[in-house]
């Protein structure tokens, strides 16, 4: 797996061996199929982007290519020879270098030490030859056009520079494949440009680069080729310049209209404009994330929040729930003001939030299903701080039965359940609080089809009973089928509002594509 040192100028259209090729990759997690027969080809001397919405399989594909995951079927070829990685370090040794958003270097060591970590030039007695180390490192960074003092401590430098040092390290390891996973998401524009110029130099040296970013505009600036994933399948692959923004997003999100009826939402358009406004959020702003967002939901209404990754969907519901620091805004529930920035105040006012990240922000793994359900209503199931087992069991059993949560007993640990059942436990946690406003952030992500349909039907039912629902989903079809109206967000602002019969897939897609560009 080592001796194909085909460095030199890029010759993209030659019949050279692919830098990296994957064929027929399949991967599933606890019954959910996340990669379906995925093929991926990276030619040397090109920058190739992989795009797709949340849950499309992007990160699973990358992790399969770099040895973090092992796929069930399929093969991976590196420079023409088949490889099998059981561990990320094997992929690294074979010449696949990964640059993550979170830099995985050693912050307390110098730039030079980081670049040559583990491969330091040695002097006599086997000691590190610091002078040679610094000299070589200086050459490398100069070569790449990075302006930095190689003896400086890495952690003291900006994140952008750190990313570039990670790239420089990739260069010196003579990587033939460099994977850049969301490297720009926390960088400023100026830093992004330098990073891009470094990436282009690498490409011109014949390295194949996989570039991932949710800032779509960057793709045309940097990338030569594109592969689009949707629902774990490759829906398009080809040169970048052949696609415009609209067709890219359509391919990413869109589904054929003929596929209608896949969701379990019923088509009862409420749109009773007479129902009382339950949730009213005005002028929500958070520096750099939200700008003056207004959301208003009537009783029995489902308002969808649409937008690409990073558009401010999750931030909006978090701001309403008090889980995100806001600089301005008024929130009222049924006319009563709710203090901003306080989760307990939001809960008391009858707002509940099902968070997008089930593992990091939802479940408490060491606690039982029972304790996880009552976490939001502790005062209500206790007398002077002493838990009332009778009330708890009654409530917990009712919800386990009502939502069809599959458990051996309510005292089973939540971490032992499948994703779908964990999600139901969390929904039960919030429904116990008897909310009048339910904010659902990606309620069906990462759960199996059966559970998905049950959750969708439940959301419908809750709205029918008069709850005000805000629904976030990356699946346009789920949003269209579920929502009575849709707010389209872009760069933290509401760019378009779709109501009544405007709520259809093609309208939503064009709103996502054109929104804010008028």
């Amino acid at each position: 797996m080592t001796d194909t040192s085909q460095q030199g100028p890029a010759q993209p259209h030659e019949e050279a061996a692919l830098a990296l090729a994957a064929r027929g990759l399949n991967k599933s997690f606890s019954g959910v199929h996340v990669l379906h027969d995925v093929d991926f080809s990276l030619r040397p001397g090109t920058i190739h982007t992989v795009v797709g919405e949340n849950g499309a399989g992007k990160s699973t594909l990358i992790k399969s290519l770099t040895g973090v995951y092992q796929t069930e079927t399929g093969c991976i070829e590196l420079a023409g020879s088949e490889v099998r990685f059981n561990h990320p370090s094997q992929a690294q040794d074979a010449g696949i270098s990964t640059v993550y958003q979170e830099v995985n270097l050693v912050p307390l060591l110098s730039v030079a030490r980081n670049i040559f970590l583990g491969r330091e030039p040695r002097g006599r007695l086997g000691l590190i030859d610091v002078r040679a180390l610094n000299r070589k490192a200086a050459e490398v960074v100069q070569d790449l056009g990075i302006d930095v003092d190689v003896t400086a401590e890495l952690g003291a430098l900006g994140l952008g520079v750190q990313q570039m040092i990670a790239l420089a390290r990739a260069v010196t390891t003579e990587a033939r494949v460099v994977i850049m996973d969301e490297p720009t998401s926390s960088l400023e524009r100026r830093e992004v440009e330098v990073l891009f110029s470094v990436a282009r130099r690498l490409r011109d040296q014949g390295v194949g680069i996989v570039f991932i970013s949710h800032r779509l505009d960057e793709l045309w600036e940097l990338c030569d080729e594109v592969t689009i994933l949707r629902d774990g399948r490759v829906v398009h692959t080809g040169p970048m310049h052949e696609l415009d923004r609209r067709s890219l997003i359509s391919a990413m999100l869109g589904r054929d209209i003929t596929e209608h009826g896949v969701t379990s939402f019923t088509d009862t358009d409420v749109s009773e404009t007479t129902a009382e406004v339950v949730l009213e959020a005005k002028d929500l702003s958070a520096p750099g994330r939200l700008q003056s967002v207004d959301v208003s939901v009537r009783a029995g209404e489902i308002v969808g929040l649409a937008g690409l990754l990073g558009s401010g969907r999750s931030e909006t519901v978090k701001a309403i729930y008090g889980g995100l620091d806001t600089s301005s805004g008024q929130i009222t529930v049924k006319g009563g003001p709710v203090r901003r920035g306080s989760v307990p105040a939001a809960l008391r006012a009858g707002i509940a939030l099902l968070s997008e990240d089930r593992k990091a922000e939802g479940i408490v793994p060491e606690l039982s299903v029972r304790d996880n359900i009552i976490l939001g209503i502790l005062p209500r199931v206790s007398n002077a701080g002493v838990l009332s087992n009778r009330r708890i069991d009654e409530l917990v059993d009712r919800w386990i039965h009502r939502l069809g949560i599959k458990v051996s007993s309510s005292r089973q640990l939540i971490s032992e359940l499948s994703g779908g059942n964990q999600q139901k436990v969390l929904i039960a946690r919030w429904l116990c609080t008897e909310p009048s406003v339910f904010l659902l952030d990606e309620p069906t992500r990462g759960i199996d089809v059966g559970a998905k349909q049950e959750v969708q039907a439940l959301i419908d039912e809750l709205a029918e009973k008069g709850m005000a629902v805000v629904l976030i989903s990356s699946e346009t079809e789920e949003l269209v089928a579920g929502s009575d109206s849709i707010l389209v967000l872009r760069d933290g602002e509401v760019s378009e509002i779709l109501t009544d019969d405007q709520v259809d897939n093609s309208r939503l897609l064009s709103a996502l594509v054109d929104g804010g560009q008028r």
Partner: protein, 322 residues
Amino acid sequence: MKASPTTASVPVKRSMSVRAWIANYGVYVALALLVVINAIITPHFLTVANLRLQLIQTAPVLIVALGMAMVIGTKGIDLSVGSVMALSAAIMPLYIGYGTVPAILVGIAAGGLSGLMIGALVSYFGIQPIVATLAVLIGGRGLANVIGGEIKNLSDPGLAVLGSGSLLGIPYSVLSAVILVLVAAFLMRRTTFGVMVEAIGGNKKAAELAGIRIKSVLVSVYVLSGLLAAFAGVLVAARSSASDPRTLGLLMELSAIAAVVIGGTSLAGGKVRILGTVGGALLMQLIVSTLVSHNIPDSVSQMVQAIVIVVAVALQVGRRKA
């Protein structure tokens, strides 16, 4: 280990669950074993006087360990407990003129105050628990020295009763430890406070989004730990009828952490095991006394304790991987 490839996965799985079982209940088995061994090899082990002595010596560590277990349950640690013991024992004699009970209460209040300060540093100023409590570990003993000076004899009759008196044959210190164990177990298992402590240790972000007031729970936990440590300090001073701020409670933080960890509470937080902590404290005490009664030097018993701690933690690591 000679299993054929096809059946290899089965024994591996079973050994994991055995491991988990040992991590959960091993402390009780070890304790029972040690009692049996002692009954056979140590003369006068099964006498009332000896068992009584063992329990009296365990009581302070156990009381401190109860608070420690709660702190560790929130993913924190409390290194201040030994110095807090010294502090309360140093303050108490100053108020003994007002009577035994007021003096004890002032001593205990000092511990609560120290816990309040640590809790505020941890939850409102975001200082890591290990740093905040290390500061009190160092500064607290300094303060105790300033207040208490050198060894003070405590010849208060009330304290003497607390130190060596007993009710229905049970020493007061043991009785109070038993009551505190029951209270702590009740607090952890049957109250909202227990659920909140474990939720914070298990997933702080989720607990916050569920509306739990993280800061006040954390402050309460450190206050409880401070109160318990201060009470343990009072007990030790009462038993020895003396307060020596330089040595009282020295290294107690380590014994308490050891008892908690050996009892199966994970340092990663999220679970508090009160009964296990009792087992851990008793086990450590019994190991030391066994070795001492067979004239094995103290240095050896320290090494044995170290091995027990490492084994307990290693078992926990195995449990998390499984």
